[in-house]
């Protein structure tokens, strides 16, 4: 009797129990969270997946300015463009930052970074590698087999173009990693996701991989200016190749200046034209005004829909002061008292009138503001309104005098590749002995930029030398994120050939060790990936 009761109880209990075990296999209830199969059930997903890859350069996360794809770092401060800009610009003669409370600042101002975590160094590294991971996953999820499985055969041709662009973005990310860290981990869609520990392949092999990828995809990509705005086309691929070749000697020890000329000429023949007015290149309507014809590849921003505390918001706000009544001049209400030019940058221009708040130069590219400020910086921290001139080059105002859509976030796109840069690349390659274009060609392109800057031929030159070119790059491209790479190529970044305020931590500048030509691989990654070797000296 006892036993029967127990058995009965046990039976009823176990029926109850086993029927509930399947509850453990619950799946997400949220309609914006998908398992992989569901994510690509809709054909619109292919373009949204591609958009994510591009967007890493613009937004910090999935939900506006406060969100981040990379944890452990401030969303705005670690945003891709902002971090990259800090490494490429704040560490050079172009700019010093004034934020005394941020530990990344003095390390970059003074070129004293180490293998201890630095938000900018980590930001570029992890967001670039994130582009690589996203592109790899995208290539896996968009293979022909997957499309067949899902019955998405009608869009195969379009998806094939998307895949080329994913590969372009991966090559672009790797080119940045190559430039900044020298020898990044290497992982492609051939490798598994999760668990696999990527290795380094060496700077030369990485260069060759990027080169081969770009050369393989470039013929299949959309012709220049035929793709949708902000999507990469042949022009973008060619410019990236030209930039790679220009720095090839730094990366591989072998100069490739003739290749620079080859691809620069392809770009120049692609139908791009210089913006009639230099200032329009950095305004809120640079995606619609004539300036867009100069922009080969932008990072797109939008006040309402592409919001970040990094990116263009940083460039527009960081060089203005909250104390100045004219902050509204930048088209937003943001003014952050951060970045200003060093005397080395402002002295690249000559001025006819320094009596007002705005220095006057015949070269219209000198867009500075000096109210209450000395030209010299002796201590960058907390001296924003007294030391160093502000740079008002980037703005959320439009070329027609209006302003962008939002009070915090600019509409202004960042010209990542633009024609003027390609002209200067070609000119430099010619001066450095590359073949395929004449000196006259080089001088001609060079003078096109001078003429635009002066509004006439008064600033034109007759001959070109390397010193003229590096200085002209400063005048034309200052604060556009190429300075560090340029100085390294000219042998002026480390060592003592060229000094600027705060270089090496001294107000007058001192020599720094050659190890600073590359940044350290973040220690966090060395920790999690035992296959990685740190750069020499860190």
């Amino acid at each position: 009797m006892k036993k029967i009761t127990i058995i009965l109880s046990v039976l009823s209990l176990s029926v109850l129990a086993t029927s509930c075990l399947k509850d453990l296999d619950t799946r997400p209830l949220d309609e914006k969270t998908f398992t992989v199969d569901k994510a690509y059930a809709d054909q619109a997903a292919y373009k949204q997946g591609l958009a994510k890859i591009y967007s890493v350069m613009a937004v910090s996360g999935q939900d506006g300015a406060g969100s981040t794809d990379i944890t452990g770092l401030d969303p705005g401060n670690s945003q891709f463009l902002r971090s990259l800009w800090n490494l490429q610009v704040v560490t050079t003669d172009e700019c010093k930052n004034g934020w005394g409370n941020d530990s990344w600042v003095p390390e970059l101002n003074n070129n004293t970074w180490s293998n201890i975590k630095n938000e900018s160094i980590d930001g570029v590294y992890y967001r670039s590698m994130f582009i690589v991971a996203l592109a790899n996953e995208y290539l896996k999820q968009t293979s022909d087999e997957k499309l067949n499985e899902r019955g998405h055969t009608a869009i195969k041709a379009e998806v094939a173009k998307f895949r080329l662009e994913a590969r372009f973005m991966r090559a672009l990310a790797y080119s940045i990693l190559l430039d900044i860290y020298g020898n990044p981990p290497f992982i492609t869609e051939e490798h598994p996701i999760g668990g696999y520990m990527p290795s380094q392949i060496g700077r030369k092999a990485m260069f060759e991989y990027i080169e081969s990828e770009l050369k393989e995809i470039e013929p299949q990509m959309a012709a220049p200016k035929t793709n949708e705005y902000a999507r990469a086309d042949q022009g973008a691929a060619w410019t990236l190749l030209a930039r790679l070749y220009l720095n090839a000697e730094v990366y591989t020890g072998t100069a490739r200046y003739t290749d620079v000329i080859t691809y620069a000429k392809k770009v120049i023949g692609g139908g791009y034209t210089l913006a009639p007015n230099y200032t329009n290149l950095f305004m809120a309507d640079n995606n619609t005004s004539a300036a867009k014809n100069e922009i080969i590849f932008p990072i797109a921003f939008d006040g309402n829909k592409i919001q970040t505390w990094g990116g263009m918001t940083y460039l527009v706000a960081s060089s203005r002061s909250g104390s100045e009544k004219d902050i509204v001049d930048n088209g937003t209400q943001q003014a952050w008292d951060g970045n200003r030019a060093t005397e080395k940058l402002v002295d690249k221009f000559t001025y006819s009138d320094l009596s007002g708040d705005y220095p006057v130069s015949a070269d219209k590219r000198a867009i500075f503001f000096k109210k209450g400020r000395s030209k010299e910086i002796t201590n960058p921290l907390n001296t924003f309104t007294t030391q160093g001139w502000s740079v008002f080059k980037f703005t959320n105002k439009t070329s027609t005098g209006g302003k962008g859509a939002h009070n915090d976030f600019p509409d202004t796109d960042f010209p990542y590749f633009r024609l003027a840069d390609v002209y200067l690349m070609l000119a430099e390659a010619v001066v450095r002995g590359g073949t395929g274009a004449t000196t006259a060609d080089a001088v001609g392109y060079f003078n096109q930029l001078r003429a635009r800057a002066y509004g006439n031929a008064s600033g034109n030159v007759a001959t070109l030398t390397l010193p003229t070119i590096i200085d002209e790059r400063a005048r034309e491209l200052y604060w556009e994120g190429t300075r560090r790479t340029d100085l390294i190529r000219f042998g002026q970044y480390t060592g003592s050939t060229y000094l600027w305020p705060m270089k090496g931590g001294q107000p007058s500048g001192v020599a720094i060790d050659a190890k600073y030509n590359v940044f350290p691989i973040p220690v966090a990654d060395l920790m999690s990936n035992p296959n990685l070797v740190q750069n020499t000296g860190y």
Binding site: K2, T18, R27, Q48, V59, E137, Y229, D302, H406
Partner: protein
């Protein structure tokens, strides 16, 4: 199924253990209670032998004993044991043990006599006499139990406190204990809209708290038990009709303000730091106003609290019942803050079929209304320019409400200064944040004692916990904040939210209890099954303040759920009434883990030895109780603080603020998220040694416990190899952590006279937590995981989780001092001697916010009808980073950004006059010893018996809470969470209380 079978087999083995011996002299009789009702299942044993039986359904028994001189021992749970000669055993009356309630302790899925308990269990009744104004249940536990550290919340009404049992076993996952309310295990976030999940329980309804500390006690709760368990049992119906009315009125006074400079002092300091001869000096001087405002005076008010409780209990139609109603209302010490709570409780405990079926039904309902005030006003008031007025004035002297709703702020409506602070009164009056939270929690328990096998009970518990919170927060139109709004200039925005929680539980177990007199043993076996479902749905809508056609910025609904399914069992075996063994096992499955990792087995074993029952101690006049306890067990932690699907590869779509542009079309972003398919729970293996003492008939009781806990598979957010996942960090099982400690509890009655009694309670705890492993690979250059954000700068941290150190160890620069011991500004030690000051020069200070020792000390004096009691508490060896001081340590605080910021007296202490370097604000100079001694409350009471010659009894009491704090810490309050930054000071509370019962 396999698991269930295992558990049930144990039951079978147990039932087979009946061995009878035959004796000669037959005795029979009936056992009844004081009311002559038969008692069923009373153990009847021939003294000095193992021969015995039990009474049947009519209370009758028959037993063969050796002779008529034999003595029979009658024992029954809850009754005083009697010894009766066999010759007189006709009708035996057993009396109820009046101390019964204190002798029974509630444990997981059952209860046990205190002397049979093997685990480290502390059951305490909430102190009724000495408590002052108490809003949340956990306040009743503060300082009362060794090994339990409760950090009260800040000064906001209804704020929650943090409970840590034995130091906390996790870094990344929750360290909150599991709270079981009347058999319903609750989830930590069960109460949306309340800062304090436990606040939905009216403290006046609580009968007992039982704190389960060691694994022997907690392992029955398996994967939710690593941080200890607190079981709350509410009051039940009584036999006699009783009414209890409690009423308190309190005044809450803010007693501490930050040492901000007065307007005159500020102007002097400002001018010193920014001389008029400089351009910045001129700019600063231009901004100085002509007022003398004491902002801290402006933001505070006198808080008022009232708490009313009424309960009625009795038995109606044979159903014992208890009904209670509570009302609590508070006005906080910061202007605009308020809190209101209405609670209702119903408890029914009917029994059927001669008590064979016992039913317990509980329903508790609560409505909370919160008017949150922005605690940021505390810091804002300390630093807002004292030379500025509170309001904007028109030229005629009246307040100009057109400008920022009348509140004076930096900038103009068209161009508000976005970098400046906000007028503290704007923070209070132009921001609003209201929440209403409704919660109902209840269960029905059916306990059926089999008619034909009374030793076997079947227990079914069905419980629910349903809550809904909704609220609105935002800024008012035309406020400073609204004018700073980039999207809706001058209009501003608000957020409406509505969050739901639905947790349901089903528990079923069988319990078999049997005295086995033949082998002087007692067994108690339990095996069961549990199913729990946690569902939540969060809704929020962010929209503009436009009166008509508001613009919706964001609207999200996020439903999610998880399940826990478990099988569990326990075997208690008692030999010779003094050797007790307990084994428990729980097999848990959580839907949060993949099929490969979701099941976890959590066993425990314990042994207790009631030493005082041994012959060598049984006659001792000094030692009245002595028990040794040993236990080992494994528990887990599955509350990862992650989403409910961390093991599945998922994609999500971005919001409209993170789109990307192709051509002229904006596209949402489809992103794969990081995941770890191998993720599973943390496991904590615990060892416990305990010794309980009672001296002088338990006039002095004491217990000492030593514990060692080792958590492995510690969940930690670690960096993953870049490029290999879709997040740079994932939470995964990599680390190890160890806790060890000693706890001492002493209760004594030094004086016990008829009209004067003095009672003392003292407890002390030493706890040490050390991280022993953090990463998959060992790299000596890896310091650890930075944590503990500071307010200055972007992304700066001051703490580090590092191997070989306590969690949250402060990680700072070493300050250099001059010969007078004054810190030299911006000079820190070059620790690695590389000639540069870099991040590499920070060091692990060895200091952490966790106290090394903490103590509770309570005293109660009763003289005739008066009583006086006080509770004190001390923490030793806890450190605090005074972030507030660090961020404001220099008089060079004028940034020339169009506004002024006041200074605090810290600048006088440091003497800093230049801009701070990034190192200075992370200097160890600001890590301060925050050890303290606090008197939590003191109460004077008067008890009266017959009010106006009626049979109304009562008590009148006056108490003061937060009486004083003794500390060397220079900030507002040494008790916090490690980084002192803008805390709303805890007020001092004066309470007058009246209690009436009849």
């Amino acid at each position: 199924m396999k698991r269930l079978f295992l558990l049930i087999s144990v039951l079978f083995i147990a039932t087979g253990m009946d061995i009878y011996a035959q004796q000669k002299f037959p005795v029979s009789g009936t056992v009844v209670d004081a009311k002559n009702a038969p008692l069923i299942g009373v153990a009847v044993i021939e003294k000095g032998t193992s021969n015995g039986t039990e009474t049947n359904l009519d209370g009758k028994f028959t037993l063969n004993v050796a002779s008529q001189n034999s003595v029979l021992v009658f024992s029954y749970m809850g009754f005083v044991t009697r010894e009766v000669p066999a010759s007189q055993a006709g009708t035996v009356v057993l009396n109820e043990d009046t101390q019964f309630l204190s002798e029974i302790v509630v444990i997981g899925y059952g209860q046990v006599r205190k002397e049979d308990a093997t685990g480290s269990i502390v059951a305490i009744k909430p102190e009724v006499l000495n408590r002052g104004a108490v809003t949340a249940p956990q306040e009743l536990l503060v300082g009362k139990v060794a090994g339990v550290q409760i950090t009260p919340g800040d000064g906001s009404p209804g704020s929650g406190s943090q409970i840590r049992i034995r130091g906390g076993a996790s870094l990344r996952a929750s360290n909150d204990p599991l709270i079981v309310i009347d058999g319903v295990p609750t989830s930590n976030d069960a109460a949306p809209g309340m800062r304090n999940g436990l606040a939905s329980i009216n403290p006046a309804d609580i009968e007992t708290f039982t704190v389960l500390k060691d694994a022997s006690a907690t392992a029955i709760y398996g994967a939710r038990a690593s941080n200890g368990v607190i079981i709350i049992t509410t009051k039940k119906g009584t036999k006699k009709f009783a009414v209890d009315y409690n009423s308190t009125y309190s005044v809450n006074q803010n007693t501490k303000t930050i040492g901000s400079l007065s307007a005159d002092e500020f102007v002097t300091k400002l001018t010193e730091a920014n001389p008029l001869s400089t351009s910045t000096g001129l700019a600063a001087h231009y901004l100085i106003g002509g007022y003398k405002t004491d902002w801290q005076k402006e933001i505070y008010q006198l808080g008022l609290t009232t708490d009313q409780n009424l309960s009625v209990s009795g038995t109606l139609a044979n159903i014992p019942y208890r009904v209670s109603l509570g009302y609590n209302s508070q006005r906080g010490t910061l202007k605009t803050s308020g809190y209101e709570r209405v609670t209702a409780g119903l408890n029914l405990t009917p029994s059927f079929f001669d008590d064979h079926l016992k039913v317990v039904a509980n329903v508790k309902a609560v409505v909370n209304n919160n008017d949150y005030a922005d605690g940021g006003a505390v810091g804002a008031a300390a630093f807002y320019d004292p030379t500025q007025p509170v309001y904007n004035y028109k030229s005629d002297g009246s307040i100009n409400y057109d400008m920022f709703n009348g509140f004076r702020n930096w900038g103009t409506t068209s161009l508000p200064n976005t970098l400046s602070g906000t007028n503290p009164l704007s923070l209070l009056y132009d921001k609003y944040d209201n929440a209403r939270s409704d919660r109902a929690l209840g269960n029905i328990e059916l306990d059926y004692k089999m008619h034909f096998l009374p030793e076997l009970r079947a227990h079914l518990n069905l419980g629910f916990d349903i809550a809904q919170g909704k609220g609105t927060s935002g800024v008012k139109q035309n406020s400073f904040q609204a004018w700073k709004d980039g999207d809706f200039k001058g209009i501003g925005r608000k957020t409406e939210w509505n969050n739901k929680r639905q947790n349901t539980v089903l528990d079923f177990y069988l319990n078999y209890t049997r005295e086995l007199p033949s082998i002087s043993s007692k067994i108690d076996v339990m095996g069961g099954y549990s199913w729990q479902h946690f569902y939540s749905e969060d809704y929020s809508k962010e929209l503009s303040n436009h009166a008509t056609n508001p613009v919706i910025k964001k609207e999200t609904t996020f439903p999610t759920e998880n399940y826990l399914i478990s099988f569990y069992g326990r075997l208690n075996y008692t030999l010779l009434d003094r050797y007790i063994l307990t084994f428990t096992v729980r097999d848990d499955a959580s839907s949060r883990f993949s099929p490969a990792t979701r099941w976890g087995l959590f066993p425990s074993a314990a042994f207790a030895w009631q030493i005082n029952k041994e012959s060598f101690l049984s006659d001792s006049k000094v030692i009245s109780d002595m028990k040794l306890r040993l236990s080992y067990g494994v528990t887990g932690q599955q509350d990862l603080g992650l989403n409910d699907y961390p093991y599945i590869a998922l994609y999500n779509q971005s919001t409209i603020y993170s789109n990307y542009l192709f051509g002229s079309t904006f596209y949402p972003l489809l992103k794969p998220t990081g995941y770890d398919e191998n993720i599973k729970w943390e496991e904590t293996a615990s060892y416990n040694v305990g010794l309980d003492f009672g001296f002088l008939k338990n006039r002095i009781t004491a217990s000492v416990d030593g514990y060692f806990k080792k958590t492995s598979d510690l969940l930690n957010e670690i960096d993953v190899a870049a490029g290999t996942n879709f997040a740079n960090r994932i939470v995964t099982n990599v680390g190890n952590l160890e806790n060890k400690g000693i706890e001492v509890n002493i209760n004594a009655i030094p004086i016990d006279r008829e009209d004067f009694v003095w009672e003392i309670g003292l407890n002390g705890t030493w706890n040490e937590t050390i991280i022993t492993k953090l990463t998959a690979n060992n790299n000596p250059s890896y310091v650890g995981i930075p944590t503990g954000g500071v307010s200055s700068g972007t992304g700066g941290t001051i703490q580090m989780h590092s191997v070989g150190h306590a969690p949250n160890t402060f990680y700072a620069y070493k300050q250099v001092y001059d010969q007078d011991g004054q810190p030299i500004q911006n000079l820190v030690v070059d620790m690695n001697k590389d000639g540069q000051i870099t991040e590499a020069d920070r060091y692990l200070t060895g200091y952490s916010p966790a106290p090394k020792y903490y103590f509770g000390f309570s005293n109660m004096f009763t003289y005739k009808k008066f009583d006086l009691g006080f509770n004190m508490r001390a923490n030793l060896g806890n450190y605090m980073f005074n972030d507030f001081a660090a961020g404001n340590s220099t008089s060079y605080n004028f940034s020339n950004q169009g506004f002024l910021t006041n200074m605090v007296d810290v600048v006088n202490r440091t003497g800093f006059t230049r801009g701070n370097s990034p190192q200075q604000i992370k200097s160890d100079y600001f890590i301060e010893n925050a050890s303290f001694l606090r008197m939590d409350n003191i109460t004077l009471g008067y008890n009266f018996n017959k009010l106006f010659k009626s049979n109304i009894k009562g008590r009148l009491a006056f108490s003061v809470q937060n009486v004083f704090v003794i500390t060397k810490y220079t900030g507002l309050d040494p008790e916090g969470w490690g980084i002192d930054n803008n805390i709303w000071p805890r007020p001092r509370v004066y309470t007058l209380g009246l209690n009436l019962t009849f």
